[in-house]
Amino acid sequence: MELKPILEVGDLHFSYKKTPVLKGIDFTLYKGEVVSLLGPNGCGKSTLMRLMLKLLDSKRRIKLHGAFLESYSHKEVASHIAYIPQYHNVPFNYSVLEMVLMGRISKLGFFGMPTQTDRDKAHEALEKAGISELAKRPFGQLSGGQKQLVLLARALAQEVNLFFMDEPVNGLDYGNQIRLLQLIDTLAKEGYTFLKTTHYPDHALLVSSRVAVMNGGTIIADGAPDEVIRSSMIEEVYGIQADIITHGNYPRCVPVFKRP
């Protein structure tokens, strides 16, 4: 496969006030990849993602399609990258269709209003996410898993090929976690590129073409999932022991539970 870089991060440093969070990140995201960013709480995963989305100032250290992020407006970034946050509550009770239609905002002019085409695209996105039947339901009344799917549908309605997901399975029940991972896997096979942060090495093994591990503000490992996720790395990063086993031809990560 010819590797075409979409996002390039070079020697990126970032501090909140005077607390350094990122200490020299080098990272490239290629077209068609599914990259999992792994690392303990506070390692800088989410900060890195926010920098790549131009939500924080990266000071000319990040290039999107060869041009510095600073040269893009928010609208232009949104026409390349769709951001899927962790599901959350919305203060006003919009319907699911209205939420998904918000993904179309970067396609509209300043005075433009969503047209029938936008509504059709929103319905297509809902169908792709497998939640067409929820279109008229109020977003606030959905379960966590359904909300996460609505946010994914909103990203699909954005009609971009690059998805950023911030801890997508957080707060979802066991079944919904696996179903969401399967949906990501399906979309990846269709050619979408993913960058997702995760707390689960096992999920990174299941659905990634590459894994980057962050710790203490730097990327300490970056490569194929089965090469990066090893017992030694888990112990170093998380301070626990885990076995990497093979199950159904795929490597899985199983933590060792010590009984007293």
Binding site: L53, K75, E76
Partner: protein, 342 residues
């Protein structure tokens, strides 16, 4: 979400309701005019046909053009301006309890008007100062808000608004304290109660231009307000220039509400309850909420003005009335309105 045709029907229905209310208010009053006479009057006014005798025509012309039309237009403009500004601020601050005064515009304009009355007998000076201080108060709120952290900017803005509002309320008290207790003080107090009785047609038509433009501006921006209520970061990631939208919205809403104060003093509650009721009825999507708030805000203030003129033999200040009508309505709808936001 409603179908497009259903939305259109609602908007057309609300517009017709507003027009019907306005027409009723033109005809109804101490001197009632029946439809036939009104029709004859219009015919004579616009075609010159002698459908009425000259004395009747002059009387009706005087009543409608000099007295009722300016008041009707002003009530619609102010009701619409306050209701849509309230809805916009509620979206921007992601808080349904916010009203147009959140950034201190009402306190600032009140102080400005009181100062104007203190220093000048000229009504233009009073209005000019009310308008200027409305903007100064909001500017001060924005300045205070941006001096503190920029990460939770909307919370800091509200805090800035609280500080600015308190400051100008205190300054207003100073003005009241030093004002002549026999002439200026009663004028200030009466003005603060709100009234549409000062309305004159040419003046109303003059302020109508900026008020209508700012209302149209807010309507055109309605799609962004849905996104702002998701929070700044998510709105930016979806492609919204949050800072620019917020500045434009603050300027437009401040322009509309400070002009409302300039023309009619302090009229409370419209900006709070109307968006609530509309949101409860049609949902939170601002593409529908904003135009309907404007239309119903106008109709509400028309009716409130009718009550203020006709309930008692003396005119009740409309600002008192909107509170007295607004509070029970708010208590009744609050329980249901709760369902429209989480």
């Amino acid at each position: 979400m409603m179908h497009a045709y259903k939305q259109r029907t609602l908007l057309i229905g609300a517009t017709l309701l507003l027009v019907a209310t306005a027409l009723f208010m033109l005809l109804w009053g101490q001197y009632p005019i029946d439809m036939a006479t009104f029709g004859a009057y219009l015919q004579m006014k616009f075609t010159g046909a002698q459908t009425l005798d000259q004395a009747t025509f002059s009387l009706i012309d005087n009543i409608i053009i000099e007295i009722r039309l300016p008041r009707v237009l002003l009530a619609i403009l102010i009701g619409a301006a306050l209701a849509i500004s309230g809805a916009v601020f509620q979206a921007m601050f992601v808080n349904p309890l916010v009203s147009p005064g959140i950034l201190g515009v009402l306190a600032g304009a009140s102080f400005g008007a009181a100062c104007g009355m203190l220093v000048s007998e000229n009504w233009l000076v009073v209005q000019g100062m009310a308008f200027a201080f409305g903007f100064i108060a909001v500017g001060f709120a924005v300045l205070v808000g941006s001096m503190v952290s920029s990460s939770r900017s909307s919370v800091m803005l509200v805090l800035g608004g609280v500080i600015s509002g308190s400051l100008f309320t205190s300054l207003l008290s100073v003005v009241k304290y030093v004002a002549d207790p026999y002439s200026t003080l009663p004028a200030i107090v009466y003005w603060l109660m709100g009234s549409l009785s000062m309305a004159q047609l040419n003046e109303v038509l003059t302020v109508a231009v900026p008020i209508v433009l700012s209302i149209l501006g807010m309507l055109f921006m309605s799609k962004y307000f849905d996104l702002l209520s998701l929070g700044d970061e998510e709105a930016k990631a979806l492609g919204v220039n949050v800072k620019r939208i917020r500045i434009i919205a603050i300027v437009l809403a401040t322009l509309a509400s400070s002009l409302a104060v300039v023309m009619a003093g302090i009229i409370g509650w419209v900006g709070l309850i109307i968006p609530h009721i509309i949101r409860m009825a049609v949902g939170p999507s601002h593409r529908l909420l904003l135009p309907l708030s404007a239309l119903f805000g106008g109709a509400f203030l028309l009716l409130a003005d009718a009550v203020s003129r006709l309930a008692l033999s003396v005119e009740i200040p409309i600002g008192i009335l909107t509170s007295l009508i607004g509070i029970p309505i708010f208590i009744i709808v609050l329980k249901n309105a709760r369902a429209a936001w989480n």
